[in-house]
Subunit: 450 residues, 2 copies
């Protein structure tokens, strides 16, 4: 059943560990799901984590190790001999084993590979290490079930029984020809209910056969599996030979990461960081955006300094500087976000740019009229009707410009193969800030007749 990790449970567990109360730990921890055990270990101190981990049985250990946070896993592995690491690898699926070993320093990596007893496991890992992490090759595993076109069902069952020892989750059985080329697939369901002497050639399907190539980008793999509702996808090499498969759980991770990246971009963070990353890394990930903001602020200062004379004559003009700047930024980010999302979904390959801009301008118009009207009334509190007119006309103009830029910039970035999510960060805010100030102060000078 489902387990909820609480502070109380952790306290009791930590006591049990320091009292070496193995019976309690066996009963209350070792029987949990591996993902829960990993979540517990993530919260423990290094010594406690190592102690608890060594109480688990071998199969559970390998499952847990895959689920741990990267930094916790690294710490834990430091307490392992190279031989112990090699043994762990043999219990893992080849993709997880490769990810694990790829985290080790280069010299240790070689030594660990030398210590793997099963030559097939070693070979699979060495092969998978060749692929870039963010490609289909880097995501795939070597564990899958495959049958030959010219086998009868009863031979398949025998062969698959052997293969089944290696494959944890079977979704689809792949069908290959004599040259090991992928020609189709067979569902386990279909095999289960077929007559023993039927040939695979008469049983397999090849309509709607979707596969990916080793070099395909991981985000493209995610999009394909999502689009075609696949739970696993076969991976073929340049000759069309079946070399691996990718399962949906790995793809869910890619989808999450991609969404996180967009969210961080929109929030002005340039690299993937987590709240557990080091202070230096977090600082570094943020500084580029802050520098853009700073640059925007300096340009803003330049613009305002150009209107210094006007501001000393009508200091009330200064009051609404933050309002104009903020609204331009907000509208720009809103428009950009909608475009970025529809680009990410691949919805918009045929929508014309002008149609989108027209729509955003209509939205801008509605919100612009509403907000400008509101601000006109409110401004009267602070000053003259002319000030009200300056602020409301500027606000409307700024909103319209921001809507157009917010739409145009992500579309342009996408056209030139730059991540359009860039546009939702401080980039567009800064641009609209500066532009907004210029519009506002120019209108101010004109209407106040300065």
């Amino acid at each position: 059943m489902r387990f909820e990790l609480t502070r109380e449970f952790l306290d009791i567990l930590q006591e049990a560990i320091s009292a070496q109360n193995i019976a309690w730990i066996n009963e209350n921890v070792c029987e949990l799901h591996e993902a829960d055990i990993a979540a517990i270990i993530d919260e423990l101190e290094k010594e406690e984590a190592t102690y608890l981990f060594r109480l688990l049985n071998e199969d559970t250990q390998s499952e847990v190790i895959v689920e741990l946070d990267e930094d916790v896993r690294e710490q834990l592995l430091q307490s392992f001999s190279n031989k112990e690491i090699a043994d762990q690898l043999e219990n893992l699926d080849s993709d997880d084993a490769t990810d694990l070993i790829a985290e080790l320093p280069a010299d240790q990596l070689e030594e660990v590979i030398g210590l793997i007893e099963d030559p097939e496991t070693a070979e699979e890992i060495v092969d998978l290490l060749n692929y870039a992490e963010d490609t289909a090759g880097g995501m795939m595993q070597k564990e899958f079930m495959k049958v030959h076109l010219d086998w009868p069902v009863n031979r398949c069952v025998i062969e698959l029984r052997k293969q089944a020892e290696e494959v944890e989750k079977v979704f689809t059985i792949y069908v290959v020809d004599d040259a090991e080329k992928l020609v189709g697939f067979l569902s386990l369901k279909r095999l289960l209910f077929a007559k023993p002497n039927t040939l695979i050639a008469d049983l397999y399907q090849n309509r709607n056969m979707i596969s990916v190539k080793t070099g395909d980008d991981d985000e493209d793999v995610a999009k394909i599996m999502e689009k075609y509702d696949l739970v696993s996808v076969p991976v073929i090499d340049l000759q069309g030979k079946l070399v691996g498969r990718i399962t949906i759980d790995d793809v869910v991770d890619v989808i999450k990461e991609e969404a996180d990246k967009d969210f961080q971009m929109a929030s002005g963070i340039s690299e993937k960081v987590e709240s557990s990353s080091t202070v230096w890394r977090i600082s570094r990930a943020r500084i580029p955006w802050l520098l853009i903001g700073l640059l925007g602020g300096i340009l803003g200062a330049q613009v305002i300094s150009g209107f210094e004379g006007g501001i000393s004559k009508v200091p009330q003009l200064a009051f609404f500087i933050p309002l104009i700047a903020a609204m331009g930024g907000n509208v720009g980010v809103q428009s950009a976000a909608i475009v970025v999302q529809s680009l990410a979904k691949g919805n918009d390959q045929f929508g014309s740019i002008w149609k989108k801009i027209r729509k955003e301008m209509m939205v801008g118009m509605i919100n612009g009229v509403l907000l400008s009207g509101l601000i006109y009334v409110i401004t009267l509190i602070f000053g003259t009707p002319i000030l009200g007119l300056v602020v409301s006309i500027s606000l409307f103009t700024v909103i319209m410009f921001a809507a157009v830029f917010g739409t145009l910039i992500p579309l342009l970035l996408d056209k030139y193969k730059i991540d359009p999510a860039l546009a939702t960060g401080p980039f567009i805010t800064t641009l609209n800030d500066v532009l907004g100030l210029f519009i506002y102060l120019t209108i101010g000078m004109l209407l106040f007749n300065i």
Copy 2:
């Protein structure tokens, strides 16, 4: 194989449709994957879409209809008689059929249900319509395979053969007791390789059995499937009876939607809208955030007006108003985004609030010192060393405050069960804008001795 939709393909297809070139359409469209056909239909005009759809065979039709955009599907269904809709429903999985019929107006819905021929299908749909859309019950389907604890393997194969007609994708066979209570599961793999007279009771597994309840929130279901790497999860009612299952493809949609929602929040859009939504809906979704921005701008104007005398004496102070406001907002959003993400992952139930704030303050310190130093040098271009001092001290202070608020506010929102993603939108930007202005102008007054 994979298909890429191009403008050229659409042009040729539209010609073929207007020329009623059925042979070309059959060869080039009808053999494609359903998801691709749906993507094509999404791009066609209503009459073309209806024409093309009617050329598809019945099974393909139902698959395509599920994959269509909601508004395209609605249009298409308008050209269907109620009987035709009822026939479509019989070909669909019960969850998809329920989603489809739920989109119809209430009176049409009842009539369509009356026209469904298979009583079991009708009953399943009526049952599923009871559950709220965003719960496990609203996501589940009635198609799954189940066996009884006391059956031998050979009986299972016979029973499952019957069940298999209804179930498109089998991942796991569920095992129930006499009271239909879920007691465990059996992989198809295990069944395939078992001896015919083995009892299920001796074959099934119940360790790590994860299930969800009908009333569970859809986002919780997504988190559970993600955490435990599940491709399907059984759904039980309050008595523990097995009533349905949820498959990973539906969960991937929930994960995407959730990520989209956070992204939109961060971009200041309050409801789920897409670039295809109406102008009115888009405008409405944005106005709340713009009003917050407007309110912030007005408060900012209030703050500045309180310093009017100072600004007329030292108009250079006005130059850096946008810079201070923008930087406070940027830093606040960055800090908030990290907290929101780790809350979304459920990583942080045990991290103390103070530890997090300390860390953010250290990050703020590093970036603050760097940026303040930089701005001090640059400010000298615009004015006196005192102005430089005012701007750099204020900037540092604002960055520190923004870091603390950015961390604190999402944590507080989360504590009071409000979506912490709210904090990454204009909310925090606005707060930091106003606060930053106050700090800046106060320091300015003090150092310029006004």
